[in-house]
């Protein structure tokens, strides 16, 4: 009963949201693209001039860009591997009958609800501090040298913190997917003499493939712009060791006031994220048709 008037009402009702999102994303994005072609520094106002692709040339040939691109990819890749592998294992574990499974599940999921700044500072101080941290004490009592995480392995430290935060997300989604697995299929395979390993590889893993794809895509989008964890622990350092693209853009814009360069960097980040987003949108779109 989609009459013309109800279509019109529908448009009117959805217009505010669509206009608001348009103003919030598309207009600023257009401004970023425009700024990225300007020489524009906040310290010298009124001196803006069109410089073509110069900002991109500077940004893309800056050694800091390559360092931060490498850091970004390393961070995203490592966290993805850790959370997906860990998520599958923990998901399988929580899918078994365990005493107090409900409570156990709450404990495993809890890190996802911890705000990033708390996560970062608790790990940096209480756990990873080279003298008084928990890890240092454990290492020392086992007869090892303690590691000064944030000067010896700063990116690893960030990877550990971010993985801890995102592991529950993977667990939640993979567990949801596992619970929709057809029990009969598994039992039939067991009757036919399939062991747990072949059941995992031939039944469980194919069933999970879709959920794993979703986890990878969504996490990638959020992990490409990890910011708070770096902001409160290392500030991108030492040197550029923990600067990712998001943090590099932030330093150029709000610390060096180089609006043109930062905008070019922002556009590079958008392009990177869009490569992933295209796949995700397709997947969601297919699901909407069902």
């Amino acid at each position: 009963m989609s009459t013309r008037s109800s279509t019109l009402t529908g448009r009117i009702m959805s217009a505010p949201s669509i206009i608001a999102l348009f103003l919030w994303m598309i207009v600023p994005l257009g401004m970023t693209i425009y700024f990225s072609f300007l020489r524009y520094n906040l310290l010298s106002p009124g001196m803006e001039e069109w410089v073509g692709t110069l900002n991109y040339e500077f940004f893309l040939t800056d050694p800091a860009f390559f360092a931060s691109l490498a850091n970004t990819l390393l961070l995203v890749g490592s966290v993805l591997v850790i959370t997906v592998v860990g998520g599958v294992l923990l998901g399988l574990m929580l899918d078994q009958p365990i005493f107090g499974r409900g409570i156990l599940r709450l404990l495993v999921i809890a890190p996802f609800f911890i705000m990033p700044t708390v996560n970062a500072l608790v790990w940096k101080n209480l756990l990873m501090h080279p003298v008084s941290g928990m890890f240092a004490w454990i290492a020392n009592s086992l007869g090892f040298q303690s590691i000064d995480w944030f000067s010896e392995a700063p990116l690893t430290a960030i990877i550990i913190m971010v993985s801890w935060q995102w592991l529950p997300f993977a667990v939640l989604i993979l567990l949801t997917a596992l619970q929709s697995l057809d029990r009969d299929q598994k039992e039939a395979a067991q009757m036919d003499g399939a062991g747990p390993v072949s059941i995992f590889f031939y039944i469980t893993l194919p069933h999970l493939s879709r959920a794993i794809t979703v986890v990878v895509l969504i996490e990638t989008i959020f992990l490409l712009t990890v910011f708070a964890e770096i902001f409160v622990t290392t500030g991108g350092g030492p040197g550029l060791a923990t600067t990712n693209i998001a943090f590099l853009v932030y330093t150029q814009a709000l610390l060096q006031y180089d609006i043109g360069g930062a905008s070019a960097g922002g556009i590079v980040a958008v392009v990177l994220a869009n490569i992933v987003a295209i796949f995700l949108i397709r997947l969601i779109g297919k699901n909407l048709d069902r």
Binding site: L21, T32, I173
Partner: protein, 276 residues
């Protein structure tokens, strides 16, 4: 005999699972424990697990020294405010998409979700400059707008999936009885959708409460929520671990409780229905 063996295996596996679970939870447990220690005990080696003088001093100190509740109030105002504004925009939009779909509804929905995939650094510069020029930096109003817009796609999406589950016959019946559109939405649709709306709100409060890109970049003091307050503990001068732990415990406790109640909705909201 075999039963006994499986029972033993069951117990063994449970123990193993609990050890893994407790290890994952350990940082949070340790943070809460440290918040009850004195500063001296917080950094002592070997760390004390239970045998220390439990104290509530840190909680009082955090409030007295840095006016904790002002930041907590900001967090509450920002997360609840952005959620309520979001509902005002998202409910009509989700209603239209669920009950008056057109050919382009699907595209509109996908486009909304795609804005969520834009990295915030892509628009940091213009948003920062516009905020500076309009005097919105470090204001609650400005941040409520940012957080509301950031979560609007998720809100529309979640409400849309919940509204889809409501049979449209009921709404049509109300229309036949002469209900106007606002009445139809407020008195017929919303009461039926209460559980869905509630979980949408909870998820949005969680996301807004923990948001730490815009809150760190656009606030300094007046509108700063707990994310920014905790970040101020990163300064190298003086290590106040017990106070940091107390402040952190208070900052995460409410959201942890809300989060535990809305696990299922989390999957629905954050995967945009791609996993069921």
């Amino acid at each position: 005999m075999e039963n006994k063996q499986t029972a033993l295996g069951h117990i063994g596996f449970s123990i193993f699972a609990w050890i893994v679970g407790l290890l994952i939870f350990f940082p949070i447990f340790w943070m809460v424990l440290t918040s009850f220690k004195t500063e001296l005990e917080a950094v002592s080696i070997p760390p004390s697990f239970m045998s220390f003088d439990w104290t509530l001093e840190n909680y009082a100190e955090v409030q007295a020294r840095s006016d904790y509740f002002r930041f907590a109030m900001n967090s509450v105002i920002l997360s609840v405010g952005s959620t309520l504004v979001g509902l005002l925009f998202a409910v009509p939009c989700a209603w239209a998409m669920a009950f008056n779909p057109t050919k382009r509804t699907k595209d509109a929905l996908l486009w909304m979700l795609s804005t969520k995939m834009m990295p915030p650094v892509g628009v940091l510069v213009p948003i920062y400059l516009v905020f500076r020029d309009w005097g919105l930096l470090d204001t609650r109003f400005g941040l409520i707008m940012v957080l509301f817009l950031m979560n609007l796609p998720i809100m529309v999406w979640m409400l849309y999936t919940y509204f889809k589950e409501i049979p449209s016959d009921i709404l049509e019946a109300a229309r036949m009885d002469g209900a106007t559109l606002p009445k139809e939405i407020i008195f017929v649709l919303l009461p039926m959708a209460v559980p869905g709306i509630a979980s949408t709100m909870l998820l949005n409060i969680i996301l807004a409460w923990n948001e730490a890109f815009w809150t760190l970049n656009l606030t300094t003091a007046d509108a700063a929520p707990l994310t920014a307050f905790i970040a101020s503990y990163s300064s190298p001068e003086g290590l106040f671990w017990a106070k940091l732990s107390a402040a952190s415990t208070m900052a995460v406790a409410p959201i942890l409780i809300i989060g535990w109640f809305s696990q299922k909705q989390l999957v629905r909201g954050l995967t945009f229905g791609a996993v069921k």
